[in-house]
């Protein structure tokens, strides 16, 4: 087998996950296009379709389905690449996990299309969707757990055969991400299984709304780190190889992932700062814990630029900034991910604003938030995934990422960047003026609301222009994906797209960083500290439960 090649049997499950991801991406981005037109009164939907159905589909298909299926494709390919081909059991369970995740997704989509679940991806009680919608959500999570545990199993086999060794960085990070995901899902599984399903099927009559919201956000915040950490894996492990460099520091890379497990979970209240039922003390405590993620984020930023600078100087860059020009900007696999990182600078800073306790009142549930996650998950994460796609699909299909496709890829990331810049800037500014998120229509008969159409950037129309460019970009990406999958010329020995994995010197890395018992233990301690008392208060002081409402 060539270096950087993945066992043929393992490719298939990764490709199925990728295919599912990009099908969801196409439909999800089309929904996004429809939204910006409807909001500006430029399009009227047929009777059987409703704005909030489309909005639910957009959020679920892009933020949940596209990301999750892509992440598992990336993990499956990367684990097979770095730890060796899967055994038959691991492969079988990956397939079973994929099938269950896909089944759950289809069930959810059917319910949304049938108009039985216009509850948006946050599905806040007491809005009540069809019971099967929640069953679909549960199956989705169970499917990801099966895939996750089978990958952990593959890793466990490797470690048994390599006693005393640190695992390859890619595998370490994938396992860290899976641990984070499993712990995070406990909250949403608890609320879906014990609150929503019995209530939606009519077995219980009331639901404790505040408890369901708190359990949802216990899951909802680490969810964003479940999207982000695979992007960070690409930044730490893939990008250095693409530019011809090495991982800057193996131990810091591992440390930052461990810190993300600790500090991304006990922080969900910063999504609930303006609501009753949780005392200010606990909200503030979780604000403090939220801010701790600044540290691993800064470690990551430093590592990235250190790798870039070291490599740029190796290539002959001189002076304070001369190395920047030497970086391989003509390689779209690098440039795409670099732009993705650049978007994360304002994205991360915006996140600090959102979590800043009383400052949250200024932007909570305004369009600012929509702008925020389009420059976090919508660009840093999504465009990193695009950058991975450009070589991952050819690697799996044995085709070539040709020169002409590379040019198209540049056009694709350029349009995505411009579209996102326009749309998210408009959203941030409109949010500061108070324009709400998640509304079908933007016309409120009041001077303050009319001002939302006045500015050059502070304008709903600018947002729509950006959204339209984004859809063009998405269509272009789908074209590239189809080419790389079925139509591009077959690669030979020389043109084969290898799976790039950068060298990472782990000889100085402390062994305790891979002692998961320590980190999982501390994670649960922090969770217990941040959640035990406020959650038991919400349960003990529960009001009579809320009934079922279908208001769409």
């Amino acid at each position: 087998m060539r270096t950087g090649e993945i066992a043929i049997k393992d490719r298939k499950v990764a490709l199925f996950n990728l295919g599912f991801a990009y099908s969801a991406f196409l439909i999800g981005t089309l929904c996004g296009l429809l939204q910006v037109f409807i909001r500006n009164d430029a399009l009227k939907l047929p009777e059987w379709l409703d704005y909030y159905q489309i909005l639910t589909a957009h959020g679920l298909l892009l933020a949940i389905v596209f990301t999750t299926f892509f992440i598992f494709a990336f993990f499956q390919a990367g684990m097979s690449r770095t730890l060796g081909a899967f055994g038959p059991k691991v492969r079988l369970w990956n397939w079973i996990g994929f099938a269950v995740t896909a089944l759950g997704t289809l069930l959810v989509v059917v319910m949304v299309v049938a108009g039985q679940a216009s509850v948006l991806y946050t599905f806040y009680a007491p809005l009540q969707a069809h019971g099967l919608f929640y069953v679909g959500l549960a199956l989705f999570v169970i499917g990801t757990w099966i895939q996750g545990f089978s990958l952990v199993g593959h890793y466990a086999v490797w470690r048994r055969h390599h006693k005393g060794e640190l695992s390859p960085l890619f595998a370490f990070m994938a396992v860290a991400t899976i641990i984070l995901w499993v712990i995070a899902c406990l909250g949403v599984v608890a609320t879906v299984l014990f609150q929503f399903i019995p209530w939606a099927f009519g077995w219980t009559n009331g639901i404790n709304v505040e408890l369901s919201r708190s359990l949802f956000w216990y899951f909802g915040h680490p969810l964003v780190y479940f999207w982000l950490l695979p992007a960070y894996m690409a930044w730490y492990v893939i990008v250095p190889k693409i530019i011809g460099g090495k991982v800057f520091s193996d131990s810091l890379a591992r440390l930052s992932f461990v810190l993300f497990i600790l500090f991304s979970i006990p922080v969900g209240f910063h999504h609930q700062l303006t609501e009753p039922g949780i005392s200010s003390f606990w909200k503030f405590l979780q604000t403090v814990l939220t801010f701790m993620v600044i540290i691993p984020s800064l470690i990551t930023a430093f590592s990235m630029f250190a790798t870039f600078e070291i490599r740029g100087r190796e290539l002959g860059g001189r002076g304070l900034f001369g190395w920047i020009r030497k970086l391989p900007w003509r390689d779209v696999r690098f440039t795409s991910i670099f732009i993705a990182m650049a978007f994360f600078i304002p994205g991360g800073a915006g996140g600090i604003i959102n979590a800043s306790f009383q400052m949250n009142e200024v932007i909570h549930n305004t369009l600012w938030v929509v702008g925020h996650f389009h420059i976090t998950v919508g660009t840093p994460v999504a465009m990193t995934f695009f950058g991975l796609t450009f070589w991952l699909i050819p690697n799996l299909t044995g085709r070539r990422f040709t020169k002409s496709l590379q040019k198209l890829a540049f056009l694709q990331i350029a349009t995505w960047s411009i579209g996102m810049l326009l749309m998210s800037t408009a959203q941030h500014l409109l949010g500061l003026l108070g324009a709400p998120r998640r509304t079908a229509y933007t016309g409120y008969a009041h001077d303050d609301a009319l001002a939302w159409f006045d500015g050059l950037l502070t304008n709903h129309v600018t947002m729509a222009v950006g959204g339209s460019i984004l859809f063009l970009s998405a269509a272009l990406l789908i074209f590239i994906v189809i080419q790389l999958w079925w139509l591009a010329p077959k690669a030979d020995e020389e043109t084969y797209e290898a799976f790039p994995i950068a060298e990472s010197d782990s000889s100085m890395t402390p062994r305790f960083l891979e002692n998961w018992k320590i980190w999982i233990g501390i994670a649960f301690l922090l969770i217990a500290l941040a959640y035990t008392i406020p959650l038991s208060e919400i349960i003990q002081h529960a009001p009579p439960g809320s009934g079922r409402f279908q208001t769409w």
Binding site: Y52, V209, T274, F284, F291, N365
Partner: protein, 157 residues
């Protein structure tokens, strides 16, 4: 674990920034009283209109001379639907929902509070300028979510 000198400086800068951010937020919240809306009282969501103060929605002057507005959020509007408030007075909004989750957000102010069924939320605000203020619901509540708005008329005493 080896740390490069520049990285120590960089992380030191990060930690200091973190401490400053949290101090600003903390002092503003707990010493100056700028905390976001909150509340610890619960209510039967099916008996909102039988429970004080929501049995009489609207503006009340309390014994200590401050004002309270009892506000019910519902699909797709607010009760009371019209509100006239005095400028320059401290007003506490007391809010709940009688059906799904809503919000009560006054554009141009920092009043942006969630209405959660079963829970009672509070937020104090003083309108400095008289005029007409737009109130909207910014939490998705159903097909009429984007029609859920009202106006507050703030008048000089």
């Amino acid at each position: 674990m080896h740390l490069h000198k520049y990285e120590k400086i960089w992380l030191g800068f990060g930690v200091i920034a973190l401490v400053i951010f949290l101090s600003v937020v903390g002092v503003s919240a707990f010493a100056q009283g700028h905390a976001p809306s909150s509340g610890h009282m619960t209510i039967d969501p099916e008996k909102v209109r039988e429970t004080a103060p929501f049995d009489q929605p609207g503006l009340h002057k309390k014994e200590d001379g401050t004002y309270e507005v009892a506000m019910i959020a519902l699909t797709f509007g607010y009760e009371p639907s019209k509100l006239q408030l005095p400028a320059g007075e401290e007003i506490t909004f007391t809010l709940t929902s009688e059906d799904v989750v809503h919000s009560f957000s006054i554009i141009g102010t920092n009043v942006n509070m969630m209405a959660v069924p079963g829970q009672i939320n509070h937020r104090t605000h003083t309108f400095k300028e008289p005029g007409s203020y737009l109130v909207i619901c910014n939490e998705y509540c159903g097909s009429g979510h984007h029609f859920m708005s009202t106006e507050i008329e703030v008048v000089e005493q």
